[in-house]
């Protein structure tokens, strides 16, 4: 009798919880917020260039660089570093990032630029960590640092509930930088 009841309750809960429930949420999401439901993809010139919510690799000096990624920005295989505070590899990576950003004791690197995020796909930087990179970006694009800073400031959103933390979205900021200061060789 327990076997029969198991089969019957398994069938009923599967139909409702996996079938009807998923269908309902899918219908609501696709009807009301299709952009979100599909993963907040961003297009430029009719081509998908990424997702607003997923960090992508930026290495060129004229772009804002996101936080380092333990997943190498693979959007289909996210991962954190899972390194502990006593792991020397954490120190080695920090040294590499210090060299890459040219940080000095007088101009220390913001800690977020030396650390990887939980999924390796953190799409944001704090405004100070973005402004930190403004001189490099300005030099690479041949424009004034203040102009780059202005574009960044225009991309700022406040983090709710967090005592004044300001964030910028790296991909959107780079799109705004490209729009404000077009490059001769796009993607160069």
């Amino acid at each position: 009798m327990s076997i029969a009841a198991s089969f019957r309750t398994i069938t009923a809960t599967l139909l409702v919880c996996s079938g009807l429930y998923t269908g309902l949420v899918l219908a609501v999401g696709q009807a009301l917020v299709p952009d979100i439901a599909d993963g907040q993809l961003v297009e430029r010139d009719g081509k998908v260039v990424g997702s607003r919510q997923v960090a992508q690799k930026f290495e060129a000096p004229h772009y804002l660089w996101p936080r380092p990624s333990a997943a190498d920005y693979n959007g289909a295989a996210a991962s954190g570093s899972n390194k502990s505070a006593t792991n020397p590899e954490l120190t080695e990576r920090a040294r590499a990032e210090i060299a890459r950003h040219g940080a000095t004791p007088a101009r220390p690197l913001p800690a977020e630029l030396a650390t990887t995020s939980g999924a390796g796909l953190d799409p944001h930087l704090s405004l100070p960590a973005a402004l930190y990179q403004a001189p490099r970006i300005a030099a690479a694009r041949g424009v004034a640092v203040a102009d780059v800073e202005k574009v960044m400031a225009g991309q700022t959103t406040m983090l709710p509930l967090a005592s004044g933390t300001r964030l910028v979205n790296v991909l959107e900021t780079n799109l705004a930088l490209d729009a404000a200061f077009p490059l001769k060789k796009p993607g160069g």
Partner: protein, 557 residues
């Protein structure tokens, strides 16, 4: 640092308030009064679905047998579906087969409400496996836990039987978990979580590289993952992933969902027993321990990463493994709540927490009763209550009684057996794996932290939590088999033993409650209960804590 007070206060205070009306609903839905016409119709429907087995009232043996039959068939179904996923539909990204040991571990993990993941969701699982195997178990396994608690409460309340498992299972699934999940899933998709059956998107980045972006019906999955003390994420890195948890508001909703139903379980228990004061005392003891642990974790995590000492890096709180859009306070709050309950989802990487912060989740899981998993967390706490009642009786020299039941050596022996099992599974497993290549060859961090990774994995398995120090290379045959077995033992024995204890108690005549009886509603008993919990936890696990997180803290520069 206003956020380190504001966020936990909002989450814990707000959820505590919400849990009171939800507790009333749980009591009404799970244990309906005979005169409740709407619930009688629901019971009629559930009886029709389950068939004749749903009619009789069950004693503890019949209830337990039904529970085991359902779980065994659920396990087999999910194991088969996982093994065959490459041949089945809803697999847009053509995911391949799983190894037998990974499928065993995953089926054991999800059927026990643990959701330990030795795979990475977006890399290993087809959409069908995620929706029909894993998400389905995320609905019915918290329902099993809730059913056990209701059965226990009915026995203690002196009912002629414990109720009927098939009815309780469906009540918990359809009347509790499902409506909450619909609310949460719709809110999550509106706030930024994807919900699509299309496969991964392909993008050409601004620098010209190709990027694959995994997605799927994430919102539906994440809602029940958080609400059902499940914790198994759609994506490998769980709610650290910016598509699984896109911002502060989704984070707030998901954090509330971690403790909402576990908190409401306490009020439901009080209502079914007709003992609201007893429920209040249990709630206060749990909340007191929870807030203390959270305070310790907040303090420990405010320190910068020791690895950056002396480097030209700004000294902020430890940001390794954390997300900028969530921040430190929200991450620590989550880490403590997810391990206090048996949720196990994460929004920051546990492995990269400061050493002493990492100890707090382990303490949470060692105690496994500060709210705990849905239903079963309070059942664990009830075992501690029995021990405390017995100790109290000894101290005041009276026969120990608990709400009209005489507690004797036989019941206490069983309670201690169930509680001590936790220590045996964790410490035994850790010793075996730390001393052999099964464990020692799989750690990813040097020194004491490597030991902590092994200790954490067994702790999380036995507590049916599912979080991990995820650097551990745990997708191996020894890890998959060992933690699979530990999860099964750590789930079903602490369910069966308390049901057996209730069977023993209800077979005895009720004892009168007199002036001299130690009241289970008062501050004295609250203190005794807290001390019992701490002594049990500390004595059992202190040596392991010293070898792992404490040694690592002392080894820091």
């Amino acid at each position: 640092m206003i956020d380190s007070i504001l966020i936990p206060a909002l989450v814990i205070g707000g959820t505590a308030l919400l849990s009171v009306p939800l507790g009333s609903w749980l009591a009404r839905a799970m244990d309906p009064a005979p005169a409740d016409a709407a619930m009688a119709r629901a019971t009629g429907l559930f009886t029709a679905i389950a068939g004749p087995a749903a009619r009789p009232g069950q004693d503890w043996k019949a209830y337990a047998l039904a529970l085991l039959a359902f779980n065994a068939l659920a396990f087999l179904f999910v194991f088969a579906l996982l093994m065959l996923q490459q041949h089945l539909p809803l697999n847009p990204d053509a995911k391949g087969p799983l190894t037998w040991d990974l499928a065993f571990n995953t089926a054991a993990s999800f059927v026990t409400n643990t959701n330990l993941q030795h795979y990475s969701g977006e890399q290993a699982m087809s959409y069908l496996s995620q929706i029909a195997a894993l998400m389905w178990l995320q609905f019915v396994t918290p329902a099993v836990g809730l059913a056990v608690l209701v059965a226990l409460a009915r026995g203690l309340a002196g009912r002629p039987d414990l109720g009927n498992f098939w009815l309780d299972l469906q009540r918990a699934t359809f009347l509790v978990m499902l409506p909450l999940a619909i609310l949460w899933a719709v809110a999550l998709v509106l706030l930024g979580v994807p919900m699509t059956l299309q496969g991964a998107a392909t993008a050409t980045t601004l620098e010209g590289a190709e990027q694959l972006i995994a997605r799927g019906p994430v919102a539906a999955f994440v809602a029940i993952k958080q609400l059902g003390t499940n914790g198994g994420g759609w994506f490998g890195p769980n709610s650290t992933h910016p598509l699984e948890n896109p911002g502060m508001w989704t984070n707030l909703l998901q954090t509330v969902a971690i403790i909402l139903v576990p908190m409401a379980c306490v009020w439901m228990f009080g209502r079914i027993l007709g003992r609201p004061k007893h429920a209040r005392l249990i709630f206060v003891v749990m909340l007191g321990l929870l807030v203390t642990k959270l305070g310790l974790a907040m303090w420990a995590e405010a320190a910068p990463t020791a690895a950056f000492t002396g480097l030209p890096i700004t000294t902020e709180a430890n940001l390794e493994g954390k997300e900028m859009r969530l921040g430190g306070a929200a991450s620590v709050t989550w880490a403590v709540l997810t391990t206090s309950t048996s949720n196990g989802s994460v929004n920051a990487m546990m492995d990269s927490l400061n050493p002493l912060t990492g100890l707090v989740p382990m303490v949470d899981m060692w105690l496994n009763a500060t709210f705990g998993g849905i239903g079963v967390g309070l059942v664990n706490m009830w075992l501690y209550i029995l021990v405390a009642v017995f100790l109290g009786g000894m101290l005041i020299g009276r026969t120990p009684t608990y709400i009209g039941h005489r507690i004797e050596a036989r019941e206490v022996r069983l309670a201690i057996l169930a509680l001590a099992l936790h220590g045996v599974l964790i410490l035994g497993g850790t010793a075996l794996f730390a001393a052999s290549d099964w464990g020692a060859a799989t750690t990813s961090n040097p020194g004491p932290h490597g030991f902590s990774q092994i200790l954490y994995e067994f702790t999380s398995s036995s507590a049916n939590n599912g979080s991990g120090f995820e650097g551990l290379g745990d997708n191996t045959v020894p890890w998959n088999v060992a933690t699979g077995l530990v999860m099964l033992l750590g789930r079903y024995l602490p369910i069966l033993i308390p049901l057996a204890i209730v069977g023993l108690l209800t077979a005895k005549p009720r004892a009168a409650e007199t002036e001299g009886t130690l009241s289970p509603d008062g501050a004295t008993f609250g203190g005794l209960l807290t001390v019992t919990l701490l002594i049990f936890g500390a004595l059992t696990f202190l040596p392991a804590a010293v070898l792992g997180p404490v040694a690592e803290q002392l080894a820091q520069p």
